[in-house]
């Protein structure tokens, strides 16, 4: 039983982090326009996040140093500050999107204007961050988030042409109705959604919050290699459900109600209830993670005291940063901007910022001063280098493709 709960950190980052509003919306948009022809990107992204989350968790557990301390120590204060600015900005966009997502999900069941739910959701996030223990929040949100499995169930209930789906996934082609540039733009968006840097900040800081040591590495591996692939399966199921229902009718996803549509068509009210619970848990979990990540990144860059394992009074600046982050997010939502739109941009900007986060992790994971005997093996380094190339290409191509395609229009 203890073991089951222990995997919860991985499950939380998988559900609340891997499948957050970014993955949900991006996969639904992609499914409704490209079918499963981009499913391979999700697999590439899952392998990448497993590789680097495992590395950063290992660095955290062995050396006791969190990711952003290392980013600054290795890249220097200047590049570190640029990275901090970019990471905080993307993190804030993601936090805004998650809180907006909670409000939109509540609107689906109550019909009440989401503008009213935004501040309420942000306040709930703050209360949890202020008062609740790390392990409690991860267990509760992780287990509730599992009800997103309803997407997998929906795919089976819809009774698709499996041969056709498999063909789309295995032999990807750009659909006749789309430009190749748009195809690659969404490939980068999906990749950014899968590899969002805040997952790594949260995961490495989480390892320190939980007081992980070298002996917990087996556990840490289990979390990564169970949690993230589970998130990947859900992502592909989301794309598949949209491909089955929305693609033939040429419905492009622009709102949360269209994301929900295939599940409702497959399973009716019961499926809808599971889906809303799952979405609320996933968005809420991701809102907690991004709130904490905004505190983690800034506190670690400047060397302030941080962590939920301390009383708020022992990490004052950390808590002030998180409060400011939540207030900013509510302020952005109050302008009436569409959270779905913020989500779509945030995943692409995530892709742009990836190299500055992942390069220092790879360097320090090879540093015996930090890691002792637990430095990277050859396989991890070979894969790490391959992924650095992919990440760099995605990062450089993201903005030009955004301009050429008019942000995927």
């Amino acid at each position: 039983m203890k073991r089951i709960f222990a995997v919860a950190l991985g499950v939380l980052t998988a559900i609340g982090g891997f499948v957050d509003i970014g993955d949900l919306v991006t996969n639904a948009v992609v499914g409704s326009r490209f079918g499963l022809s981009l499913a391979w990107v999700v697999i590439v992204g899952v392998v990448g996040i497993c590789l680097f989350a495992n590395m950063s968790g290992r660095v955290g557990a062995v050396s006791g140093r969190a990711t952003f301390e290392i980013i600054r120590e290795r890249l220097g204060p200047r590049v570190g500050l640029a990275n901090l600015g970019a990471s905080f900005f993307i993190n804030l966009m993601t936090l805004t999107a998650e809180i907006g997502g909670i409000a939109l999900a509540l609107q689906l069941i109550t019909g009440v204007d989401p503008a009213l739910f935004g501040p309420l959701a942000a306040f709930a996030v703050w209360v949890i961050v202020w008062r609740a223990k790390f392990s409690q929040l991860e267990n509760a949100v992780g287990i509730l988030g599992l009800s997103l499995i309803v997407f997998v169930v929906a795919v089976f209930l819809l009774g698709p042409d499996w041969g056709d789906l498999a063909r789309q996934a295995v032999m990807p082609t750009v659909p006749a109705s789309e430009q190749p540039a748009t195809y690659w733009y969404y490939a980068i968006a999906l990749f950014g959604a899968a590899m969002t840097p805040y997952e790594v900040f949260f995961f490495s800081s989480g390892a320190i919050e939980e007081g992980w040591k070298r002996k917990d590495l087996g556990q840490e591996r289990l979390n990564v290699f169970v949690g993230f692939p589970l998130g990947g399966v859900l992502s592909i199921a989301i794309a598949a459900s949209a491909a089955i229902v929305l693609l033939p009718q040429a419905i492009a996803v622009t709102s949360l109600s269209q994301v929900v549509l295939p599940v409702v068509q497959a399973g009716g009210t019961i499926a809808f209830c599971f889906l809303v619970v799952g979405m609320l848990a996933a968005f809420f979990g991701a809102a907690l993670e991004t709130t904490l990540s905004s505190g983690y990144t800034i506190a670690q860059y400047f060397g302030w005291s941080w962590g939920k394992f301390r009383r708020p009074a022992q990490a004052a600046r950390f808590h002030v940063v998180m409060i400011v982050g939540l207030v900013l997010a509510v302020g952005i939502l109050a302008t009436g901007v569409d959270p779905i739109l913020i989500t779509e941009y945030s995943v692409v900007f995530s892709a742009v910022a990836l190299p500055l986060t992942y390069l220092p992790i790879l360097i320090v994971a090879n540093d015996p001063d930090y890691m002792g005997a637990d430095v990277n093996g050859r396989l991890a380094n070979a894969l790490g280098l391959v992924y650095l190339v992919i990440i760099l290409v995605a990062s450089l191509a993201a903005i030009p493709l955004m301009i050429i395609t008019g942000a995927g229009a």
Binding site: R65, R131, G303, W304, S305, W306, P312, R317, H319, V320
Partner: protein
């Protein structure tokens, strides 16, 4: 507090590699600051050193506003420097440990100010998470 062998006299340290941008921890493992710069004794600023000058000695770790000038250039007035005297340093590893409590240092005044004026005034701010 006994010093670790990592700070024995005569150990060769690359200030850039082993000091700058490392986390400083106090005896209770509380993060204090990141080393933003170091203060050296007896070095005239902006003057070329004649060959054969003995190596300067690090007298203090600096943190605070000095970070801004390190990134953007310039030099803050000495009165604005927040120092952690080198004598407090007890260990140099992947983090730098000092033998004095964070609360006794000027470096952490912002933390104390926010703690006393903001965080402690919000209900639950002084309690362990439940």
């Amino acid at each position: 507090m006994t010093k670790s062998p990592t700070v024995r006299a005569g150990r060769l340290i690359d200030a850039n590699l082993h000091l700058l941008d490392r986390q400083v921890l106090d005896p209770e493992n509380m993060p204090v600051a990141t080393v933003d710069d170091v203060e050296l004794d007896d070095v005239l600023w902006n003057t070329p050193l004649p060959p054969g000058t003995p190596a300067p000695v690090v007298t203090a770790l600096l943190s605070g506003p000095v970070l801004a000038t390190r990134i953007f250039g310039g030099r803050p007035p000495e009165s604005r420097w927040h120092r952690i005297a080198w004598t407090h340093v007890v260990e140099i590893g992947t983090a730098i440990r000092i033998g004095i409590n964070a609360n006794e240092l000027d470096v952490s005044w912002v933390e104390r100010w926010l703690r006393d004026h903001v965080i402690r005034r919000i209900p639950g701010g002084s309690h362990d998470p439940e």
